[in-house]
Symmetry: C2
Subunit: 408 residues, 2 copies
């Protein structure tokens, strides 16, 4: 069969690998040339790692599978009747089986103009932009002679109290507190403010209350100001309005809402509130035989609830679907149902502080932090990346320096 | 005294360090926030190193000197009567002594429109752009079904046979020959063409004939086609015209001509053919007491010839001037004359192939290549960079992979 996989994040790549060496002809389409290890993207945004440390060319990962080819192209539309994928550069790719795994992007709740001021954290470009804004804000504050403007520039607002928001707030606080200390003559980087704004009842809503409380205490110890149950009403070039209060900010990071990439639109289907499409137990898209969706774009129901948009969900789904398709008789076959096995959920706050939720068992503090580091190094794509990241982490642990402070 | 240093390349940074801890008030002005180790920039352009591996924040390097401050700003003009430097963002900086060390940029011999097609290699942005164009050309060739267009995309033209051109041509040849091998299904990266075009009599004109001959043989062994005594007459989006022959190219790299940054214009002075200003034996600018120029912007005469635009010249000049100013009684003092000591000149062609010119003694081959690597690792700014670069070089030596293949 001709199998097309659109997207090579955790899900798409796992699916392609599982199909490597099979009798099928597999084509991976992605608009980027690299697979990105998103869990460490916040470290690129805060100058701790280089983009390449967490990005690997897709074709290098899949090189050894002669039956898998890769094309760098952006999908424009899909003709499910003629079974063709069309790319924006005029490419046309026929398929027997189509696997959609294009992931999610940030959603600004209908305020698309906020995107230019409050950058999300999904791509290398996003991370470079946040890094550049953060470092430039300190540079501009050093040059300014107006205390109000200095204060504004040295204030960072992080919107959204999920793992990305918590990790960004912690890392930015450490940047001002430790990394930049002593390098300026007109400002004190230690006096930089970091605000974490969350509209819901508490930060880390996906985690048990006990771990969220711990994360909150650790963030406050780093000097992060928490504003929970506070909604953002306006964002502009000067800052953020929360309720009726305007907070001037030099850098604004958006980690609040995500929605699926426009797969529903491509297929001409209904999507749920966050843009996801409903899929069957084998990830098949109802009414479109041979079409599958997984990861953040799929509303996969398990025990009456949709699975969360996590890397491990997409990865397990991709591997399962790839293996199932390997031995499928033909397109449109009913495949064995998928079941997600929770490997635990984690977030890191800063030095010596992380949380792990393994369901029955919880973990926090220095040991959780060490485990977090070991697990994330292990999950990197190859030995070179593991060595590079370990080396930089070790160096940062000793020196509190961040080696990648480039503008832009 | 208030000393302003404009530019923090090899010369400016050496001058600032030599003035660190002195009784003078030193201000370093640079439009970038980082000092760049330019000799390895070609490795960033060819995906072998990350930008941060060869770039270090200026303020981090100078952090320990309480009398030195740093400002990230672009110089707009200089008022030598009022002794003030004005920046494009409205900043105004008074000085008693002014040290100009802004370096050189690429010159297109009056064809400024060529710059958009043929990128020079002076900044991180330049290197990212070349890397992106190189890798994108292979991606587009893989998608193309027209053999002519595939051939064009897989052709790279490097213009200029100096060290930068030679190093780029060698690294790009290795990229196609080894790094990308086996990753494509419709093209064979090994069939990629690399042309090195030099208008003069031979490549590496700064080196002895014997070493240039060796470099030529090594380049040809890597498959690089050499076109010496060939002038470029036209460059456009499709390729390069050499004489009357048009050569289609997917990527064009410019390493042909440099000219000084517009310091002469700032000072309202005459410049030589390549934009440099004449300086006295102590690097002072005639007629402007307290103003000094060094590195690529200065035509410093030694033994009847101007010193070449080399990193080691700028570095020695900066250190000398900083030390001299340290003990100067006042601005405009005559300082001890500078004399350049040649530490040897080097260029690397590829794996196991480099040349060293120590004046009386020449070196080439595997040992020169090893020495080149050791010297360049040693010259990096700190132990972290040294470890990171060594690790990546070792990995590349074993695997022939290049770890930083990001678009863009």
């Amino acid at each position: 069969m001709k199998i097309i996989i659109v997207g090579s994040g955790f899900g798409g790549l796992a699916c392609a690998k599982a199909l490597g060496g099979s009798s099928h002809q597999v084509l991976v389409i992605d608009k980027n040339n690299h697979n990105l290890f998103q869990p460490l993207l916040y470290q690129v945004a805060t100058g701790a790692l280089s983009p390449a440390d967490i990005a690997e060319p897709i074709r290098r990962v899949l090189k050894r599978y002669a039956n898998v080819s890769v094309v760098m192209a952006e999908v424009d539309r899909i003709d499910t009747t003629a079974q063709q994928v069309f790319s924006t550069d005029g490419g046309q790719y026929p398929y027997d089986v189509l696997v959609l795994a294009t992931g999610s992007r940030y959603s600004y709740f209908g305020h698309d103009d906020w995107a230019q001021y409050a950058t999300g954290l999904k791509t290398i470009e996003n991370a470079r932009l946040i890094r550049s804004r953060l470092l430039s804000a300190f540079e501009r504050a050093e040059k300014s002679r107006a205390p109000d403007e200095q204060r504004r520039l040295m204030t960072t607002v992080v919107i959204g109290g999920g793992p990305t928001g918590v990790e960004m707030a912690g890392a930015i606080a450490e940047l001002g507190r430790w990394t930049l200390e002593g390098e300026f003559r007109n400002i004190d980087p230690k006096s930089a403010r970091v605000l974490l704004v969350e509209g819901g009842e508490r930060i880390l809503p996906q985690f048990p209350q006990e771990l969220a409380d711990y994360a909150q205490r650790e963030l406050q110890r780093l000097g992060v100001e928490l504003l929970v149950r506070h909604g953002v009403t306006q964002i502009d070039a000067q800052g953020v309005t929360i309720g009726s209060e305007h907070i001037g900010a030099g850098t604004i990071v958006w980690g609040a809402g995500v929605s699926a990439t426009p797969v529903a639109q491509w297929l001409g289907m209904e999507a749920d509130r966050t843009g996801r499409i409903a899929v069957g137990p084998d990830m098949s898209v109802p009414g479109l035989p041979g079409v599958y969706a997984l990861g953040d774009i799929a509303a996969f129901m398990q025990d009456g609830k949709p699975l969360p948009g996590l890397a491990q969900v997409a990865k397990q789904q991709g591997r399962h679907l790839g293996r199932a398709l390997r031995s499928a008789a033909g397109p449109g076959d009913t495949l064995p149902p998928f079941r997600f096995h929770d490997r635990g959920n984690t977030a890191v706050i800063g030095r010596h502080a992380a949380v792990f939720d393994f369901g029955r068992y919880h973990m926090k503090g220095g040991l959780a932090w060490l485990l977090w580091a070991v697990v994330h190094v292990y999950l990197l794509v190859n030995a070179e990346k593991r060595a590079l990241v370990s080396l930089q982490w070790l160096w940062r642990y000793i020196s509190k320096a961040r080696g990648v402070r480039l503008i832009p």
